[in-house]
Amino acid sequence: MIQPEQQPNLLRSGHAACAGCGLAIGMKLVLQAMGPRTIAVIVPSCEGAIGGVYPYTSYGVPTIHSAFEIAAPTAAGIANALKIQGRDDIQVLAFAGDGGTFDIGLASLSGATKNNEDIIYVCLDNEAYMNTGIQVSSATPSYAWTGTTPEGNPRRKKNIMEIMAAHYNPYSATATIGFPRDLQQKITKAKNIRGTKFIHLLVPCPTGWRTPSDISPELSILAVETKVFPLYEVEDGKRYTINYEPRHLPIQEYLVKQGRFRHLKEEQIRKIQRDVDEEWEKLKQRARPSPKTRAFS
């Protein structure tokens, strides 16, 4: 097998992401694993900014800049057009941010998934509306500072993976840039599955998370190792597989590195730790092979 690192880079340099952008790393890794036989859909967001200014683009594959809330149906339309043309060797990839997925695009994503449209949908989750100046989204974690939650976000992060699982779509997976080989393997796997594939990709954002420009990969790894963001897959909405056993680091190791959590009080940190532990237990339960029902003799 050709290693992903030997495949061409399809996110060209000269793009306009901030220095150290985790989202750019994510898109680069995804596109590399997708390969050149891909049509991408992007929406107004950092993806648009990264794409460059007309008439230049950083995308190395044909890319359509659609509207904010309709990444999934746009991709579905293209996929269906390709099918009608009989071109089944081209994959359609939709990129949308957490705002366009968790909040404003949720209905259209749900519709496309309900129809099991043959697309790969990658949610680039940087946990707030970063491109418009850091406003809270339903993907923002508890107590995180954003421009619109100066005291810290009072709500918990929405569990998008469970919403997707409730559609019984063939494949959903979490991934993050700190585990590039895991991410690229998941993309490769998704390419070989027909129907709606959903990748929840956590991408640290130095600007919005208030962090130095060089620690996006490290934060991404810490998110996994502290169980804030476990790496797992859900097949057909019911078969759960945990891909990586975390080191169970205390949550502080992840939080202290980020300015957006600087104001946290002890009890808030304890609460986050409790939530994280609880979610992890729930996930482990789901990932357990179901006990065999005893046959009547």
Partner: protein, 575 residues
Amino acid sequence: MNTNHEPSSEYVIPISFGSTEIIETGNWGFLKPQTSFMTAPCQESCPAGNPIPQFLYLATDGRYHEALQILLRENPFPGVCGRVCFHPCETDCNRAQYDEPVSIRSMERYVSDVAANQPLNLKPVRNEGSKRVAIVGAGPAGLSCAYFLSLLGHPSTIFESQKEPGGVMRWGIPGYRLPKSILRKEIQRILCLPIQIKTNIIVGEDISFDELTQFDAVFLSPGAGLNTSLSIEGEDLKQVWMGQDFLGRINSKEKVTLGKECIVIGGGNTAMDVARSALRLGSKVTVAYRRTKGEMPAIRDEIIEAEEEGVRFEFLIQPVKINRLQNKKLAVTFQRMKLSGLDPSGRPKPIPVKRKFITMETDQLITAVGEQVDLSWIPQDLIKNGLIEGNPSSKIFGGGDAIDQPRTVVHAISSGKKAAISIDLCLRGESVNQVFSKIKVGNKGAVSMGAYLKGREDGEWPEEQRIITYEQINTLYFESSRRVRMRKRSDDKRLKGFSEVNLSFTSKEAHFSASRCFSCGTCNYCYNCYFFCPEGVISLDPVQRRRIVDFEHCKGCGTCAKVCPKSVVVMKEVG
């Protein structure tokens, strides 16, 4: 890439055809990543300066042949060292602070065994005014000196008193630790070079010391071959043997018959080898040592293996008298000792406990209480404290066990390398000290032949490298793991003969063991920087061993420096 960016009126929606690559986003930042290698602590601790992270990287990649070649540049005996070295490298391995040290010695053995039949790939430098060098003694020191001299273009003649070369590796260390076939192969590889060897020639008897001075330079490495005597009553009894003689007879395949019970006096490598050899000849063996286990100078692994095999130990006793009994057995009287204060070498000093004696009966006693240098044929001005001291101004150099340095194979190799470089410099009339400061590997005495060859050829000396500490390793990128224990011959088969005890790694074990190396201070193409650069401007070429960064588009975010687990990339202001 298509950089044509003319908008076309054929389309109803605007389409970008141009590439953002024309935008020089490199101007957004002023720091740029630079590669800067550091020396790994293992490499600093290896007296031969073995390029450890580099050879382990190549081994991880399955490039065993290349791995062996880079080892051979610094050490002509990887197969020997991979078996019998006391491996200071593993003691100082950074990974020891994380979980367990990397199995460096076993990997050196594996690489050299797997690639053993490959020809030597090192080209000796062309040397117009090459000189002839005389070497006394074909132990590891003498053979290494001849080897490195050859790489530097100087032919040499070795005078060896025994019928075969190898020194202690041939006549001392038994085959269950170092199979003779392995040693023979490594010596053959050396002797393919322009080296003349004259065996069965004792310098001082068959030829005189003065004859050596007809050569352009002389290297003295006769080792320490004289048994130290106990100087006690009864030492000359028939059942009392000398350790080195005993090992020499076994290694000559002589048939040796031992008594049922055997006492071995001493705590060094010779004592351990004698004890374990005696076990293999069917004796019940007790080692008597005057200090405690902690002070035994033998290599730790040897003590453990001796215990495993059933050697008994008696500590804090020293023989004072040996009597022959009516039943032909020996009665050995020992003085009880205790430790008190330190001796001049800094080790706890054993002193007698007044009036406390014990007596043991035995059939056989073998002494192994140290070896001395035979200086009978050495001119007085080259002797200091019972050892040889070279005199560079008269182009006479010394090395190995005969000079003032730790008595190990790898120190002998190191002294041979240093002497070869000194001789080359002296013969070409250059300053020794200046060059040595440029080719040192860390600060513990090792020097690099690779660096010397490069500097000598291109006049390009490497920049001084710092030693990378454990704190500089980003362990987030390493999963903790245990090292593989090498399989051993089963207990019942082990004592039946002199077959090698430690069986090699399997290829899977070797790959895993090599991949545990953090690669401290050296790029091993983990691809972290490549994967994590948001700009995609890093390209890596593991074959040519290159890392290229497109500075026109590097925004200087510093991610690559941060994600490098071994601190090889640093951000520096450029331009």
